[in-house]
Amino acid sequence: MPLDSLSLLDSPEVILFVKITTLVILAIYIIFTFVILTQVKVMNRIFTEMFASTVLFFLALGNLIFALSLFLIALVIL
């Protein structure tokens, strides 16, 4: 049997399934990045290093913003 006829993503149901799965993974990832951001904030209160603490906070915040943006983009284009 040729490989083309085995294509799994030909049917709309399968595409919808993959889309929902991707969005669920992205949602879980957003929760994970939110937890990281919260922990960075907590640890910055416990131990503060003037410059580095700010950099780490903004990196964690940027990660969360990227994840949220990716979720919205995926919602639109998938």
Partner: protein, 202 residues
């Protein structure tokens, strides 16, 4: 001839400014910790030697290169052919993959960054952070410190001069430890001098 300008005594010459990658600092400035008293000066700052980060840095490097490797060599996997993923899915998956790699590296970095041992004029502070949501802070007064030991075993540890420092306290108080810290003998000696005892290898 009268002096026009007399430079004041440079009292801060022994102080070291802690940066993001500092691992060993005597009289550090630019850091503070929770419950630090206004007149409490930090005398010693210890963090795991940076070389201990090598495994996760190497893994991150490999993870970053994997998709690049596929694109450069145009490897067509049987599975991808069979699934015939539309381009929009591929783009989302690749961005998500790199975000996850970033998170992996970031979590490893903050795990290293927030694990510190501080020695002040009054106490020893051990800040531990692990597994993203676990953090533990232990304080002990210098007067409660009974013994300071250090261990440095193995070729890598001897080559990069790092090891473990153990601060043993009296009674039921938690013993504090600085794992894989640089210059363990010197660190133990500094703590031992503060409590008026000799540091020795465990």
């Amino acid at each position: 001839m009268p002096d026009i300008f007399i430079r004041p005594n440079d009292t801060k010459k022994d102080e070291e400014h802690v940066n993001m990658f500092s691992t060993f600092c005597i009289n550090p400035i630019g850091i503070s910790f929770v419950e630090q008293e206004p007149d409490e000066k930090i005398l010693l700052f210890l963090r795991r030697h940076f070389v201990t980060n090598a495994p996760w840095i190497f893994i991150t490097f490999i993870l970053v290169l994997i998709p690049v490797f596929f694109f450069v060599f145009r490897l067509d996997l049987q599975l991808l052919q069979t699934l015939s993923l539309p381009g929009r899915f591929t783009v989302i998956f690749i961005i998500l993959y790199y975000l996850m790699v970033f998170s992996y590296a970031f979590v490893n970095f903050i795990t290293w960054f927030y694990n510190v041992l501080l020695v002040t004029e009054k106490r020893v502070v051990d800040i531990d952070y692990s597994d993203i949501v676990i953090h533990n802070i232990a304080f002990t007064k210098l007067t409660h410190v009974q013994e300071v030991n250090y261990t440095q075993a193995g070729f890598i540890r001897s080559f990069f001069n790092y090891g473990n420092v153990f601060v043993q306290t009296a009674g039921p108080e938690t013993n504090l430890e600085g794992l894989s810290v640089p210059q363990p003998r010197r660190a133990a000696q500094i703590i031992a001098n503060l409590i008026g005892r000799e540091a020795h290898a465990a």
